[in-house]
């Protein structure tokens, strides 16, 4: 008969920075979309070639009807309602991302920038706390860095198959992150989130003068803007996948562990132990 055991899963720092990040990332996304809406096109390189964006969101007249159109490379998608020509039917407006997705909800680039930079500062401070305690406290090495055994191809394949079948680790194995979790979290905290800060700073003409090498690193200010947008989308995907996994692998247990730090696992009692 398996018994329930509450193990300590998340440190206070992890829990606090996690919930701050929830609020901060949502605010950054909403205000970021507000800023994007001011010029809903993306380019590669140092400058904007207005005739050759790789992504452009707008509206067009078609058969006497207004439609929202999103162009990605050579692809042309009709996105009426969601992108380009947005809002409820009858009250559509010419905006790339709809009012419900932006901060503030009305069109206001100046205020959107204020929000974005306020939360960018909180994001950086929060990220530094997480990083420094994670590096020096051992969280990143102990809990996130995959072991050699984790990375064996057979093991990684096994985990992929298990995830696809929605079979989650149980018992002792549930004490640790599995290798897919480790890689996903590492990609987010070591790659995506720092890239957001770096590409954001590379869009600043002031910071360009202080660190011109960052322009070379990302291939120009307009490339940095494109990478900023792509990484934001990847973070949204990461969060969606994360939420689905939280829901499927025991939503209350997961929530409790991120609030109180305690996570329940089921273990077989040792032989001879009291029942």
């Amino acid at each position: 008969m398996a018994e329930k055991l509450l193990v300590r899963r998340h440190s206070a720092v992890t829990r606090i920075t996690h919930w701050i990040n929830v609020v901060v990332l949502v605010a950054l996304l909403g205000s970021g979309l507000q800023i994007f809406n001011a010029h809903a096109a993306l380019y590669w390189g140092q400058k904007s070639r207005f005739d050759a964006p790789w992504l452009a969101i707008g509206r067009e007249e078609r058969r006497g009807e207004t439609v929202g159109v999103t162009r990605v490379g050579g692809l042309r998608l009709e996105t009426t309602g969601l992108l380009g020509w947005t809002g409820r039917e009858g009250a559509r407006e010419s905006r790339a991302f709809p009012a419900w997705a932006t901060i503030p909800s009305w069109r206001d680039l100046g205020t959107g920038r204020h929000w974005h930079f306020l939360f960018a500062w909180i994001f950086v401070a929060n990220g530094l706390v997480y990083w420094l305690t994670g590096l020096f406290g051992g969280h990143i090495r102990r809990d996130l860095a995959p072991t050699r055994a984790d990375l064996a191809p057979r093991h990684v394949w096994r985990e992929i198959v298990d995830h696809a079948r929605l079979r989650f680790p149980e018992g002792e194995a549930a004490r640790r992150y599995n290798v897919l979790q480790k890689l996903a979290y590492l990609a987010a905290v070591l790659v995506l989130l720092p890239l957001m800060v770096a590409t954001g700073l590379t869009m600043s003409p002031g910071f360009n003068a202080a660190a011109p090498w960052m322009l070379d690193l990302f291939g120009g200010r307009q490339s940095a803007r494109s990478i900023h947008f792509i990484c934001a989308n990847l973070i949204v995907l990461f969060v969606l996948a994360h939420l689905v996994m939280v829901l499927l692998s025991g939503v209350w247990n997961n929530l409790r562990s991120m609030i109180t730090g305690r996570y329940a696992i089921e273990v077989e009692p040792a032989k001879g132990a009291r029942p």
Partner: protein, 256 residues
């Protein structure tokens, strides 16, 4: 997942999103919220000044990078009668006024401006909307010009008064203006540009004279500059925030 559970989750999600948006909007409208938002600019300015070498140059590009269709923004042909007369006369009798807290107020013709210490630079112009263009700018360096007028000791900002009324008002309240501090005014790349891509500055780009303050965004690059004023503070000018767009909710420090 059962249909019930899915509907419940959807409902919770939609309510949370609605609450969040309403909270953001009302925070934006509240005075306290605005105060917090406004204070961030100060933090950004201080932080950038901390890491930014005062004389660090904005990136300069090779001629192959110059934009073929540089986008004009804001006013592209001011309707002000005095300006229109100067434009039609090819700016022959036009003069730039330099006054305010200076020892010697100046009034300079284009020929006199061209005789001042000058500089050419191919730099990027970054609109606050997000796009960038590249052009070659040639103009009088602002620093030597200010030295010629002689700044009084209490000067902290340089204000640029422009010919265009971007607010489209009957009175002067919609006039474009901008301001920068002395650190940017004396930066080697800060110019009063009279040429763009080796041609006299086109009207759409601010003829006969526009400010180039590299390391800041496009709305700081005031076009149609008529008067340069040295001031101790700009609280009494326009709505007091230091510029046309600043008065309308944008940051005074546009280095980001």
């Amino acid at each position: 997942m059962s249909a019930d559970r899915r509907r419940w989750l959807k409902g919770v999600g939609a309510s949370l999103a609605g609450l969040w948006l309403a909270a953001c909007d009302s925070l934006t409208r509240s005075k306290e919220g605005r105060d917090v938002l406004d204070r961030v600019e100060d933090l950004t300015l201080r932080a950038q000044r901390l890491v930014l070498d005062r004389k660090a140059l904005a990136r300069e590009f090779g001629p192959e990078h110059v934009s073929t269709n540089f986008r004009p923004n804001g006013s592209i042909n001011p309707g002000d009668p005095a300006y229109a007369a100067h434009r039609d006369a090819g700016f022959a009798d036009w003069r730039l006024v330099v006054d305010g807290l200076v020892e010697t107020p100046l009034s300079l013709s284009l020929a006199e401006l061209r005789a001042l210490p000058s500089r050419s630079q191919i730099t990027r112009h970054d609109c606050v909307e997000g796009w960038s263009d590249i052009a070659k700018w040639t103009g009088a360096r602002l620093g030597p010009l200010l030295d010629q007028a002689g700044l009084k000791s209490d000067v902290r900002f340089i204000v640029f008064h422009c010919a265009d009324n971007l607010g489209h008002t009957e009175d002067a309240s919609g006039r474009y203006y901008e301001s920068i501090d002395l650190m940017d005014a004396y930066h080697p790349q800060t110019l009063l540009a009279y040429e763009m891509n080796d041609q006299p500055l086109p009207v759409a780009h601010g003829a006969p004279l526009r400010l180039r303050v590299e390391r800041q965004l496009g709305y700081k690059q005031a076009k149609y500059v008529m008067r340069v004023e040295a001031v101790a503070d700009f609280a009494q000018i326009g709505r007091g925030k230091g510029g046309f767009w600043e008065d309308r909710g944008y940051e005074w420090y546009a280095g980001i």
